[in-house]
Symmetry: C2
Subunit: 209 residues, 2 copies
DNA sequence: AAAAGTAGATAACAGTGTTAAGTGAAATGC
DNA sequence: GCATTTCACTTAACACTGTTATCTACTTTT
């Protein structure tokens, strides 16, 4: 029956429009300051209609969260063909920071917002699969660097965490505007770039001790 | 007039009680999920009374923000007598992480929450003085490390930012619960400690290249 | 043509931050 | 000693929030 298929498609279509509207509003005003009625208004429906497609506001957040991780995953996977592990690691850092700078709202959603994080207790949830994949990719690359003597030997997971912390710290201070007030005029604008390149230089130095 | 002084003291007293109640609630439920009525209930006043002592909810946030920075400042200043710059730098990192682990709510308030950050546009505001002081202390220590050859020469501000990013990244991933789901069982509980100690080992390696 | 199902809307509930108006007691002026 | 003013505080109200229950109008099935 074509009508059933059409119905299904229309349903998916509306779901998409809700997500698009919600993303735009979340990124502009933040999660807490975006109301269901605002989302509904933007797509010309009543607020309660959203509840026919999403359990609650947190469900919308989770859907966007998942989308964003897939997006980052795509960018990271695009680096799979960089043969040299250390070069790949460096590229991953640059891609990570660029993602945060180009999509501060999405980055916030993924790594900073606490909003409905409590709804995400299930570690096995598909929501975590994408994030896990990205982190596993980092671990694998770090392990390869260690195997080739480009990084000192140790626990790849611990080193991955430390590396992730550094780039996340930069991204988070940027996104939540915590560093620019204490920074000198000369460095303010380029501090993210300068900091990242210095960190990369450290990493390179770690190998050829 | 003793009565006037007494009045003034009672006023300060109530302000204190409001702040104490607000802090407890913010740390337990978060800023957005704490209402003025909840704060008022806890101290036995009506919600509107709070407005006689604080302009709005953001003003309470700012007062607590300031207090927390002073608290961290005290802990950092206590390290002033550590003579060796690199040892002092290492101690600062440990104090920073310990502060975040022991006071996750306060850390969130200081470096992660976006809540009424927009109300803090004035860089010269006294609110920023404490934070600036802590960052300047870090810069000075880094500069001394460079002067003594314990760290490679460069812009102390950039290196301070990179170091801060690393510890902030660890603290933020911890506070907002973003790392434990992707971490292996063996490292999950001690990852903060392990990551920090590895980072410290890196810093030591940077000097004696 | 009658019955069932359904996409969507309206109304309502308990809660939010915040302001305006009101209350009762203390301090002040004469 | 009494009237007036001041002031800490409360109640009432407004416009908003997420969410649920109920209702409407239309489509599909029988």
């Amino acid at each position: 029956m074509t009508t059933l298929v059409k119905k299904e498609r229309e349903k998916e279509d509306l779901k998409r429009r809700i997500l698009d509207a919600a993303r735009a509003l979340f990124l502009e005003h933040g999660f807490e300051r975006t109301s269901m009625r605002m989302i509904a208004d933007r797509i010309g429906y009543s607020a309660t209609t959203i509840y026919l497609h999403f359990k609650d506001k947190a469900a919308i957040f989770l859907a966007l969260h998942s989308e964003a991780f897939q997006q980052m995953g795509v960018r990271m996977n695009a680096l799979a063909d960089v043969g040299d592990p250390l070069e790949r690691l460096k590229a991953m850092g640059r891609v990570y920071i660029r993602f945060a700078v180009e999509n501060p709202g999405l980055y916030d959603l993924m790594f900073i917002m606490e909003a409905p994080m409590d709804a995400l207790q299930d570690c096995a949830s598909p929501i975590w699969q994408e994030g896990q994949g990205v982190f596993d990719g980092l671990k694998a690359t770090v392990a390869q660097c260690m195997a080739m003597g480009q990084l000192p030997k140790g626990d790849p997971e611990v080193m991955s965490f430390t590396i992730w912390s550094t780039v996340h710290g930069m991204a988070a201070l940027h996104v939540r505007d915590r560093c620019y007030k204490v920074m000198s005029d000369t460095n303010r604008e380029r501090i993210l770039e300068l900091g990242l390149e210095q960190f990369i230089a450290w990493l390179e130095g770690l190998g050829r001790k």
